[in-house]
Symmetry: C2
Subunit: 361 residues, 2 copies
């Protein structure tokens, strides 16, 4: 997480993760999600907060989910159906189900298939937002598998040389187990910066940086600026400008649309009139390919060598993807999750509104 | 391809693609590769030239391959063995075989598995350079499958906050069929720029651009500069600097090392003392997931909408990944492949040296 987004002690209330999950589950149940599904949905959100991925935790996502559940945009009790299936793959129709409920089911299917044939790949069409993509990828870790999750989103990214948004932030998450080292967990938007970073900059009044966004004509903004009152016209792809490889970020966003949206038959993220998110999860069973202990030992060696890279001037060292989040998770499991006072007030109000006991303080 | 790298008419000789492939096959046969394998290897190289991917065609790669075949770094007659296998996956030991020979065999295995169970995934350890990665991904297209190919390379990329190279350019290639539109073909290094672009800038005396490389202390060079006489100290990841997402390009390069190098049991690209390239190819059969005609129609709609995006100022429009290369391939199949005079002279000399008839002019 970039320094500017850290929550300072002054305006934070630290809450117990279990109480936060229980409260969140209660909210989901009150808007019609069955208890077992509500428990998983709450776990996805709180896991993001535990890992310091506050952009995808309770403060940003929960109020959106509740609002969409109330308005019927999200179906609280979807009839998820299998469109096509083989021993290695499946395609599911999500029936407007919330991604934080349906995607864990899809990943469990992928894991079962990978147990049988080494790989499992499940596409999910006609779904809704799935929260922190790496949650689903990380489900593979306890089975000694590599996990993958990609998902489409509504248009935010202007493709290279384009003036208006045509692709979502379309994230890619991959998790791989190691031995003594914490697992490798990559979770990245294919834009230069995750969309929620702009929202948070607006809320905190911090700057948005050069290379993140385009102006209303589609021209990349390459200097830091104050966030506009409303949304930025478009986010830039990873690479920011063509000369630095923005066609690669744009191309990867297309790949996400193809592998999740189009391959599921659900659609793609290009039009605001199509409110769906489509997902694809995969699991690769390590010992189908190679010796598991050898794999883990080589992962440890790989990650340790990365960490031991001599640092460039002004930096402490190379960071392994997922390791800062791992450290944050250990710390927050022990000491609690800091929430903005404004978010805590929203929990107080919502507990009253939905008749859920307030247990955060 | 960036404008500065285009070969101008003044210093080019245009050659017939079939003659170029026949000559290249002849070279491979003379250094010990059996004729059927030599034919495939030549096809991989000439396909790159046909598509305008000159960095991975005969001019840059062939002399390296021949040198390494003569010195024994590449095994011309590898005994490729199956390490582990299921109906959906396989792991191959490449026995130091050339990637342009062994990877097409691996992709054919993946395609056969995808015919059976919808997906095929084949890792290849202990191999050598596989040429243009999209060649292997594109093999899936004629089977109405999506193809994927990733491969490790020796260390060129400095990870974010690191001072020295620790990862290869580790490319990712994905090809997806469409209906009336040419296929989508993405083929990208996970560095901001492909390594060979630096070599070509050195040969042509053109500038290397800001965001491409780090200096000898690991500090990103963000202004255009003349190429150094020898190699640049390190390439930057896609994203160039942390604030613009270089941790994403660095993370994707790690993923390539994990999915090809470590999952195959072969190793990873980090150490110059490990001369291997490791590969991973996958094929996804579209009609295992969804209706094929519906998929192709939706791909057409997706790609057409991208092309119809209003352009940003100073640009003609949005480019679909793989479409410029498609256009170049049609043009070069009809009119021939332009080669630098210096490259043609090398062919003349090598034909004499290896006793292969010179038929390019």
């Amino acid at each position: 997480m970039l320094e500017q987004f850290k929550i300072t002690a002054d305006d934070a209330v630290t809450v117990d993760p279990t109480a936060l999950a229980q409260t969140t589950q209660g909210f989901f149940e009150r808007v019609g999600i069955p208890a077992p599904d509500a428990r998983v949905a709450a776990d996805v959100l709180v896991r993001a907060d535990l890992r310091g991925v506050d952009t995808h935790g309770v403060s940003n996502m929960l109020r959106v989910y509740l609002s969409d559940l109330k308005s019927g945009v999200i179906n609280p009790t979807p009839k998820v159906s299998v469109v096509r299936e083989t021993p290695a793959i499946a395609n599911l129709h999500s029936d407007n189900g919330l991604g934080v409920v349906v995607t864990p089911k899809a990943m469990n299917m992928a894991i079962e298939k990978a147990k049988d044939v080494g790989v499992g790949m499940v596409t999910v069409g006609h779904g809704r937002h799935l929260g922190m993509a790496s949650y689903h990828a990380m489900m593979a870790l306890e089975h000694d598998m590599i996990g993958l999750c990609v998902t489409t989103a509504g248009p935010r990214m202007a493709p290279t040389f384009g003036a208006v948004p045509r692709l979502g932030t379309n994230p890619i998450a991959i998790a791989a187990p190691a031995g003594t080292e914490p697992p490798f967990v990559l979770d990245i938007a294919t834009t230069a910066v995750a969309g929620n970073k702009i929202t948070i900059a607006q809320r905190l009044g911090t700057k948005i940086l050069g290379g993140w966004a385009a102006d209303e004509r589609g021209v990349p903004i390459m200097e830091a600026m104050d966030p506009p009152e409303h949304d930025v016209p478009a986010l830039l792809p990873l690479g920011s400008v063509r000369e630095m490889g923005s066609h690669k970020g744009y191309g990867l966003a297309c790949v996400v649309d193809i592998l999740s949206g189009i391959l599921s038959g659900g659609g793609y993220g290009m039009f605001p009139g199509r409110p769906y998110n489509h997902h694809m999860v995969s699991a690769y069973r390590v010992d189908a390919f190679t010796d598991l202990d050898g794999f883990k030992a080589m992962m440890d060696e790989f990650l340790q060598t990365l960490k031991e890279t001599p640092p460039s001037p002004g930096h402490d060292g190379v960071v392994v993807p997922g390791h800062p989040e791992w450290d944050t998770e250990q710390e927050r499991r022990a000491n609690g999750i800091p929430l903005h006072a404004e978010v805590v007030q929203w929990f107080r109000d919502t507990c009253r509104e939905l008749d859920v006991p307030y247990i955060l303080e």
